[in-house]
C-alpha cells in the first residue's frame, strides 16, 4: 500500500515537472541584446557661399538594427588637434541658419525608423545677408533616444550618435584667403647628433624612415594642400610621394599624410616615436649614405608655393656591428688555435 502511494507521488512530481518544462518552452521567448546600427551619408560637405544665399543638402540616415527613435541636430565644431579630430561644441553659435525642408520633420524633433528603413533629411543651410566673411564648421548629428525604464536592475544605457561634417566658407567675392606655413618637416631618427649647431639625423640602413609634415593655416578660410615629398639619394636615386589633399581648417594645424606609405611593426618598438603618434609618411627600403627629403606644396591655382627640406644619413650600423663581432670572435678563435699548436 505504502509502495503504491510512493509510486503515485513520484508519477505526480514527474507529470508536474513535465508540464512546467512545456510551459517554460512555450511561454518564454528568446531575448537578444538590443542593438543599434546607423549610417549617415554624405559624411562631409564643403561649400563656398555668398551671404544671402541658401543651399539644400540631402542626407540619408539608415537604420540597420532594431527599431529606433532618432532626432537630428546641428552643432558647431572646432579642430581638437592636428590629427583631424574634432571637438563638438555643446551650444549652437555662428550666423548660419539650419532647418529641415522635410514636410514631416524638424530639427530636434523625434522620428521613428524601423529595421532597414531609411529617411532622407533635407537640410537647408542659409547664410543671412550681412553674415561676416570667414569659415564656419558644423556637424549634423543624428542621435538615438535611449529607453531607460526597461530594466529593473542597475544598468547603464548606451546612446548612439552619428555625425557628418559641414565646412562653410562665407565670401562675397569668391576669393579665398590662403596663408599657409610649414611648421614641421622632419624625420624621426633613430639617432640625432648636434654638430656645430646643426642637427644630423642617423638611421640604420634597414630602418624605415618616418617623416612628419605639419602645415599651419594662418588664414581665415580652409585650405587643401596639393604637392609631393621627394626623396633624393647620393647615388641619384629618387622617389616621389603624393600629399593627400586633406582640409586644413582656418587658424589650425594639420599633420598631412602622403602616399604610398609603408608600415612599421611596432610590436617591439613601442617607445619609438613613430609608434607612439601618427606620422605623415613611412619610407621603407635599404638606405646607404646621405639623403635629402624635400616637399613643395600649393593650395589650388595661383596660390603661393611653400617648401621645406630635411636630410639624413643612413649606414649599415647593424651589419657593421655584426661584422665586428664576427671578426673579433674569429680573431680570438684563430689566436687560440695557433696558441694550442
Amino acid at each position: 500500500m505504502q509502495n503504491n502511494n510512493l509510486k503515485f507521488k513520484i508519477r505526480k512530481i514527474f507529470i508536474l515537472f513535465f508540464l512546467l518544462t512545456l510551459l517554460f518552452f512555450y511561454t518564454t521567448k528568446k531575448i537578444l541584446a538590443q542593438q543599434i546600427s546607423l549610417s549617415l551619408s554624405p559624411p562631409l560637405i564643403e561649400t563656398v557661399i555668398k551671404p544671402g544665399k541658401s543651399i539644400l543638402i540631402a542626407y540619408t540616415i539608415v537604420n540597420y538594427a532594431d527599431p529606433v527613435i532618432l532626432s537630428a541636430k546641428v552643432l558647431p565644431f572646432e579642430p581638437k588637434n592636428n590629427l583631424g579630430q574634432i571637438k563638438i561644441k555643446e551650444e549652437f553659435d555662428g550666423p548660419i541658419r539650419f532647418s529641415l525642408d522635410n514636410s514631416h520633420l524638424k530639427l530636434n524633433q523625434s522620428f521613428f525608423l524601423k529595421t532597414n528603413e531609411k529617411e532622407q533629411l533635407l537640410l537647408r543651410l542659409r547664410v543671412p545677408e550681412g553674415a561676416k566673411e570667414g569659415d564656419y564648421y558644423y556637424t549634423l548629428i543624428v542621435e538615438s533616444q535611449p529607453v531607460t525604464t526597461q530594466l529593473e536592475k542597475s544598468a547603464s544605457f548606451a546612446k548612439a550618435s552619428i555625425g557628418a561634417n559641414i565646412l562653410i566658407t562665407v565670401t562675397e567675392s569668391g576669393k579665398i584667403e590662403i596663408k599657409p606655413k610649414i611648421v614641421l618637416f622632419e624625420v624621426l631618427p633613430r639617432f640625432r647628433f648636434s654638430f656645430f649647431g646643426k642637427k644630423i639625423n642617423f638611421f640604420d640602413s634597414t630602418d624605415s624612415i618616418p617623416l612628419i609634415l605639419t602645415i599651419e593655416n594662418q588664414g581665415k578660410n580652409l585650405i587643401k594642400p596639393e604637392g609631393e615629398i621627394i626623396l633624393k639619394g647620393n647615388f641619384g636615386e629618387k622617389a616621389k610621394f603624393n600629399l593627400i589633399p586633406q582640409n586644413i581648417l582656418s587658424q589650425s594645424q594639420r599633420l598631412i599624410q602622403a602616399t604610398p606609405s609603408a608600415e612599421i611593426d611596432c610590436s617591439n618598438l613601442s617607445k619609438f616615436r613613430a609608434c607612439q603618434s601618427p606620422v605623415s609618411l613611412i619610407i621603407s627600403g635599404f638606405f646607404f649614405g646621405f639623403y635629402r627629403l624635400s616637399t613643395s606644396v600649393i593650395f589650388g591655382e595661383n596660390s603661393p608655393q611653400i617648401s621645406a627640406s630635411t636630410s639624413f644619413f643612413a649606414f649599415p650600423i647593424k651589419i657593421f656591428t655584426g661584422l665586428m663581432v664576427a671578426l673579433t670572435i674569429g680573431f680570438f678563435l684563430i689566436k687560440r688555435f695557433y696558441n694550442k699548436d
Binding site: Q34, Q35, P42, E46, I49, G84, K153, F157, K159
Partner: protein
C-alpha cells in the same frame, strides 16, 4: 691553415644572424586608397524624386560662383567612399544585475565603425551624469582606479584590480583604442557632462578601416555603505568622420 680558414668562415657566418629581409619601397598604402583623383561635387547621391541639389564640379571658379552664389563639394575630395559612414553598438542596455558590495560587476558592449575607404574617424564617449538612483539622491562615484600611483582619470587609464576601490569606469580592447588601455585591468572613468567635462575619444583612426571593432567593458564596484537602489546612467557614444 685549413682549420684557421674554416674557423674564419664559421665566425663570419654569424653575420647572417644580423641580416634582415630587405624590400624595395612599398608601393601600397595602408593609409589611403585613392580611387578617384578628384571627384568634386560628383560624389554622393544628392537627388530625389522631389528635390535636387544644384552643384558645380571642381575647384572654385569665380564666374560660376558669382552667378549661382555658391559652390558645393560632397564627400572627401581625394576618394570616393562606396560604403557610407556607419556606427553600431551591439548592446545598448548594459545590465549590471544586482550590485553586491566589494564584488565588482562587469558588462560589455561592442562598438563597430565601418567607413569604406574614407579612413579618419573618431568615437567619443561621455556620461550624462553619474550612476545614480532614479530619485537622484544617491550616486556611485566615478572610479579613480586603485588610487595612489594607480589613480586614473578621464584621459589616463590605470589598473583597477582592488575589490575595495569603488566606483564606475570602463576598459577598452580591440581596434583603434587609446594606447593607455594596456590590458583588461586598465580602466578610466567616463567624463561627466554635468561636470562640464569634454567627451573622451575612445576610438580613432587615421587609416583605412572597415568594420573596426572595440569592446567596451563597463565595471562597477560598490562599497558596503552604498545605499540600496537601482542605479542608472546614459553613456553617449558619438561617431564622426574627420574633415
Amino acid at each position: 691553415m685549413k682549420k684557421a680558414i674554416f674557423l674564419l668562415i664559421f665566425s663570419l657566418s654569424f653575420l647572417f644572424f644580423f641580416l634582415k629581409s630587405v624590400f624595395a619601397i612599398n608601393m601600397e598604402s595602408p593609409l589611403f586608397k585613392i580611387q578617384y583623383g578628384e571627384i568634386g561635387i560628383a560624389g554622393g547621391n544628392k537627388s530625389s524624386a522631389n528635390y535636387s541639389l544644384s552643384d558645380t564640379v571642381g575647384q572654385t571658379a569665380a564666374g560660376q560662383f558669382n552667378s549661382t552664389g555658391y559652390i558645393v563639394k560632397a564627400g572627401f575630395q581625394y576618394l570616393h567612399s562606396i560604403i557610407p559612414f556607419r556606427f553600431s553598438i551591439s548592446n545598448i542596455n548594459i545590465n549590471f544585475g544586482i550590485l553586491i558590495p566589494n564584488s565588482p560587476q562587469t558588462a560589455t558592449t561592442t562598438l563597430t565603425v565601418s567607413f569604406g575607404a574614407a579612413g579618419q574617424y573618431q568615437v567619443t564617449a561621455i556620461e550624462e551624469g553619474r550612476l545614480r538612483t532614479l530619485d537622484e539622491v544617491n550616486s556611485i562615484p566615478d572610479t579613480q582606479c586603485d588610487g595612489g600611483t594607480n589613480t586614473c582619470n578621464e584621459s589616463l587609464a590605470r589598473p583597477w584590480t582592488s575589490n575595495t576601490a569603488y566606483g564606475f569606469g570602463y576598459n577598452m580592447s580591440g581596434n583603434d583604442i587609446p594606447s593607455d588601455f594596456i590590458d583588461s585591468t586598465y580602466f578610466r572613468p567616463f567624463p561627466n557632462r554635468q561636470e562640464n567635462e569634454s567627451p573622451a575619444i575612445v576610438m580613432s583612426s587615421a587609416n583605412v578601416g572597415r568594420n573596426r571593432q572595440a569592446v567596451v567593458t563597463f565595471k562597477v564596484n560598490v562599497s558596503p555603505i552604498q545605499p540600496a537602489g537601482k542605479y542608472q546612467t546614459i553613456i553617449n557614444f558619438v561617431a564622426t568622420p574627420s574633415f
